[in-house]
Structure formats: structure tokens, C-alpha cells
């Protein structure tokens, strides 16, 4: 089993980090979440061996790990009336356009950002996003449409999107 997971680790790890990164906007958090997913696969070889689509399983686990951490931090931020954590340093090597895109993504509501990230970065079809997030297909389509529209506004008109975005990083 570990050979199978190692092959997945070699083949899918970077792709999964990029997909989770769109949710976390922090490459360190994304790496931690994806590594946690692989550890769970290794710790549960029998369960993981029955999974039909291992990469999808790993992606869902990693997204759940990342979501839970974000939600807990957001709850505490609200409870303690503290501002959200400062935005993480941008990933090395990002072009100015990509930095602006990340900043704009951070300013989307969490539900829209997740839909956009899963569709455009993880290449998931709408139906699969609906299943993954537990909402109706129509809701996903709405979130995608609104998210894309808001992204277009932010990237076209708002100079803040080309700096640090000014967003929270973790909208409730």
C-alpha cells in the first residue's frame, strides 16, 4: 500500500497543493493539509485501499483539513475581536498578475472562492463540486457566476487587488 501512496505522492502532491492553496491562500497551510491527507491514507491502508479515486479522496481530505483550520481560526478571531492573521507572504516566483489574482481571490466570500478554486484550479465539474460541498448544483453555478463576476471587477477596476488585496484571507 505504501508504494501506491508513494506513487500518488510523487504524482499528485504538487497538484493537490495548488488546488488547496486557492482555498487557503497560504502555501504553507496548503502543504500541511495535503501532507496530512497523505498521512491519513498511510495510517488507514485498508480504508484507502477501497477508495475508487485516490486523488479525489486525498483532495477532499486535504480540503476538509484546510477548511476546519480556517473555520476554527475565524471563529476565534471573531470571538476575541481580533483582526484576522496577516496575509501570508506571496509564493516565490508569482508574476504580478498572479499576485493580483490571489489577492482578488482572497477578497471573495469563502463559498464563492471555494467554488472558483475547485472549478478553475482543481478542474472539477460543477456536479462534483456540489457533491463535495454539500450544496445543490444550481447553488454552485450561482457561486461560480458571482465569483467570476466579482473577480473580473476586482481585477479590472480595483487597484487594491494589485497590492495585498486588503481582504481577510478567511471570510466567515
Amino acid at each position: 500500500m505504501s508504494d501506491r501512496v508513494r506513487a500518488l505522492y510523487d504524482g499528485c502532491y504538487r497538484r493537490l497543493v495548488a488546488q488547496v492553496y486557492a482555498l487557503t491562500a497560504d502555501v504553507g497551510e496548503a502543504q500541511d493539509a495535503v501532507q496530512e491527507a497523505f498521512v491519513r491514507a498511510l495510517a488507514e491502508p485498508r480504508s484507502f485501499g477501497r477508495v475508487d479515486n485516490p486523488e479525489a479522496w486525498l483532495r477532499v481530505v486535504a480540503l476538509n483539513v484546510a477548511r476546519r483550520r480556517l473555520r476554527r481560526r475565524s471563529h476565534l478571531d471573531r470571538l476575541l475581536r481580533r483582526p484576522p492573521a496577516p496575509e501570508p507572504d506571496p509564493v516565490d516566483g508569482l508574476s504580478p498578475d498572479h499576485v493580483a489574482l490571489v489577492a482578488a481571490l482572497r477578497r471573495l466570500p469563502a463559498s464563492q472562492r471555494e467554488a472558483v478554486a475547485l472549478h478553475h484550479l482543481a478542474d472539477l465539474p460543477v456536479a462534483e463540486i456540489a457533491e463535495l460541498t454539500g450544496v445543490a448544483v444550481g447553488t454552485v453555478k450561482t457561486r461560480l457566476a458571482r465569483g467570476r463576476a466579482r473577480l473580473a471587477e476586482l481585477l479590472a477596476d480595483d487597484p487594491a487587488a494589485t497590492t495585498n488585496g486588503g481582504g481577510t484571507g478567511v471570510p466567515p
Binding site: Y13, A18, Q35, W57, R72
Partner: protein
Amino acid sequence: MSHPDFDGLRAAVEDAAARAPFDSLLARARGRRRRRRAAGGTAALGLVGALATTVLVLPGTNRVIDPDPTPPVTAEPAPSPTGPTGRPARQLIQTAFGSTTAYALLGGCTGTGPAACAYEVLSSPDAGRTWSRLRTPLPPLPGDASEGFAAQLLVTGEDDLTLLDWLRGRAYASTDKGRTFATRAIRMGPPIDGVPPGLQVSATQCAPARCQAVGLTVFDPATGLIAPLRSQPPVGSEPHGVSVGDDGRIWAAGQDGSLLSSAVSRDRGRTWRKLAPVPAGGRLRLVRVVALPGREAGAFLLAGRNSPNVLNTFSDLWRLDDPDPRWIRVMPPGAPPSALSVVGLVKRELLLTEEEGGAWRTSGRGTRIAREPDPQAPGLALPLRLLYRTGGLLVGQLDVSMLVSEDEGRTWDYRIVVAG
């Protein structure tokens, strides 16, 4: 940029993603399987008592203060064998010891639905040898419980118990050992001049220059208020580590730009003396200060640089010998890469655990370090994971069991605790 370049962004992040060695993931998975087997063994022992609930508890402490108001690792839902559906299994969340009573907080789920997950609170009058269940004021959770069990135990004064429900902003305070609870709303309070007797100080982490509650705070169960200290330690914008010594001194540390700063207060946080900073050597993920037991015994300072591979990364260790107010770097060769928990020992040494389980003991005043033998339960070797000091005892926490040491960790007494 009318068409966002998602493909380019994906490629850039993929290029930047750092990979932990696969062997390190294997080691983490092996540690979990080992602990799960140990948990299975302890659960089997619990059934000998023919009781419906198998609960294994280990005490926390009201002396070593975690730098974050959330519980440490135990708050994270246990790895779910069901993966994506991920409902947390029954789990020990936290324990805490008072003067005569120990308390334990647990969570578990049965089935699905809006109230399928629930908390349990136990108390023990004999240092964890026997346990009984208390009425739990914490409301149940939905069956998905995807946020995990985020409540926390707090013991103040002699045996006063408070249950903190961070998600709902409620505290349930009891002054009669958990027989009755008064409900308080948790909210920020005005600054206070020092830590009131019997209460604990914590470090809350905040963004620079934008936070009303930055720094050291004190939670008062009687009012539900989280009050920041009026005089904060001069350790940068975010104090990350705080520890209270037997002599009442409060030690605090934090990253201040390229420096690791620290300060100590002899008057319960009213005034602070800044200590000479040491170089941080990069962005730090772990900053922990440990007051050593005894009066004027000095302290240790632990730091870990940001690492993609280790959460509680451990890369630097300094020692301060009273009355010399300087940190001396003593990072011992061969130290583990992580420090999940750490306690100061009477002989001015440290006992620490690493993330994957296993304890390490320093010698030579922190200049050497060696792996400790795993304590033995009946038929099992149990690598220690979380360590606390409470009174004169060291308590080691695994996922679902408790080990107690009365001799600074040389020998361990395995105690199974089942709600009766």
C-alpha cells in the same frame, strides 16, 4: 487582466510547493497506528469494568499556559478512518487538575443529525484513579461536527471548573465541583493591572498594530471577561510564549522582527524587565518559554523556524541561569525535529515530546539530549505525546490514556480511567 490566468497560477504554486520526505509521512502514519493500537488496548481494559463508557483521561495543568486559548493538540479531531465524511470518533479533548479534583472533557458522536455529537465531563476525587460523570452544560453538536470539539476545560482557584465553548462564546462556571454551572457570555473586558490571584495568564496572538486584545490576557470565569494586561511584555507585537514559575514570575517571549525577545515580570504582570534578545534566524513557528521548577531556577527558551514539514518545529534552545539575565544557546546535537510539549524538571533540565510520540530528556543543563524509553502499560509500550506538570506530578498524555510520574519522569504509573 480580463481572463484570470488560473493555469499559470496553478503552475507557479506547483513549482513552489515544498515536499516533505515521504519517509517522514510514513513515520507519522506509523505513530498514529501505534497509538491507535494502544488505544484499542486501553479500551479493552476499560471493558473489564463492565461499564458502558470507556474514557481514558490524563490531567492537564494550570501552571504551564498554552500560548493560544484553544486547547493544544487534543482539540484537533482525531484522524477519521472514514476520511472525507470525517465525523470525529470518541475522543478525549482535555483534562485539568485542581487541588483535590481532576476533571476530564470528552466528545463523541453517534449516528447523524443535528445533535449526534456530544460532550462529556468527568470528575475524579483521587487523582484520576476513579471517575464519575457530571451533568454537561455544553450543548450537543451536529453530526458532521466538522469544526471538531472546540470546547475547553479550565480549573482556577482550588477546584473551580469552567467549560469554555469558544464557538458559541459561552462559559459555564462551577464553584461546586461541577454540580451546578452558571452561564457567562465570553467577551473582551477592559485592561487590568496584573494577573489576579488564582487566575491564569494566556498569550493571544494578533496582527501587529490592529488588535485590541494583543498580548497577554486573563480570563475570569466569574465574569466571562477576557482582559488584556495593561502593561504588556516588550517582546514584539505578538507574545507567543508565556510561563509562570513556582516563584510567581511570569516569563514571556515573542518574535520581534529578526530577534527573539523575552521579558520577565516579578509583580504578576504589572511591570516587565526586558531580557537581551537573541537572533531569531528567520520566521519562527514555535516560540516557547519554560520556567523551571523551584525558586529563582531560571528558564529555557525554545524556538523553531518555519518548516513545511513539521508543525511544532524545534530548531533552537537557550538556557538562562538565575541571576544571570542572559540567554545561553545550548541546542543539543541530535535533538528531535519537533517539540510538541515540554516541561521543566527540578534538576534544571527539560523533558519534551515530539509530534510523532516519544520523550526526550536533556542533561548537562540542556547541552545534551537523549530519547527516553517508552513507558510500559500492561503489555504495551506507550510513546509519550503530550506532557504536563501538575503539582509535583508529571502527566503524560497519549491519545486516550494517562501516565503519571512522581519522580520527574523516571518511572510512570499507568492509570486507566473509566466513567462509573
